[in-house]
């Protein structure tokens, strides 16, 4: 089944730095979404990018999508300690479900 693989698995940065996470997937998609999960908590939707879009912004978040390479990246600019969480990409193909990637654990040190 389709699966997103994320890279890196873990990332540690200082406050103020930018954090970039990458996601690769295997098959054609309708859209790709990014979610955030604080430790032991639920999943919070961050941003959705459709297959015909190449870039999208939301606040300090920037998402790119390259369907030819079947990859996406999430950039968090000017990171804060409160951004510490796991970040997951999830893809939607022509079936009615989200398939999640393996996630990146981001640690932002004050």
């Amino acid at each position: 089944s389709q699966q997103g693989e994320e890279d890196p698995q873990a990332l540690s940065i200082q406050e103020g730095e930018n954090a970039t996470m990458n996601c690769s997937y295997k098959t054609s998609i309708n859209n790709l979404q990014w979610y955030r999960q604080n430790s032991g908590r639920g999943l919070v939707h961050l941003i959705l990018i459709r297959s015909n879009e190449r870039e999208k912004h939301s606040g300090r978040l920037r998402v790119t999508l390259d369907t030819s390479k079947k990859s996406s990246s999430l950039l968090i600019t000017a990171s804060r300690a409160a951004d510490t969480a796991s970040y997951f990409c999830a893809t939607v193909d022509n079936t009615d479900k989200l398939i999640f990637g393996t996630g990146t654990r981001l640690q932002v040190f004050p």
Partner: protein
């Protein structure tokens, strides 16, 4: 802001017992999902539900699992005879128009099978 609520937040059960995990989706949403996350691992799709029937289910969702929308608000996941490997966080999600818009997830139920 509307939210998906799940109860209980934590459930401990003995192996072989039946458990029912409850979810109240967002009121105008029509698509419902269950996912699970074994500790430290990725979030796995279990089942999607629309128009009072299962749309799709994964290999994990075997005969031990069932879902139901018993009334207009609740959406339940039942595990008939729990196994140790069923220990995980179970997340309910709902979506207004299926996978083409963002899904709203509940805070999860941590199921511990002992």
């Amino acid at each position: 802001e509307p939210e998906v609520t799940q109860t209980p937040s934590h459930q401990v059960t003995q192996m072989g017992q039946e458990v029912i995990l409850r979810c109240v989706p967002i009121s105008n949403h029509l698509y419902f999902y269950w996912y699970r996350q074994i500790l430290g691992q990725k979030v796995e799709f279990l089942v999607s539900f629309y128009n009072n029937e299962i749309s799709e289910k994964s290999e994990i969702f075997d005969d031990q699992f069932s879902v139901e929308r018993p009334d207009g608000s609740n959406f339940t996941l039942k595990i008939r005879s729990t196994k140790l490997e069923d220990s995980a966080m179970y997340f309910c999600a709902s979506s207004e128009t299926g996978g083409f818009t963002e899904a709203f997830f509940g805070q999860g139920t941590r199921l511990t099978v002992v």
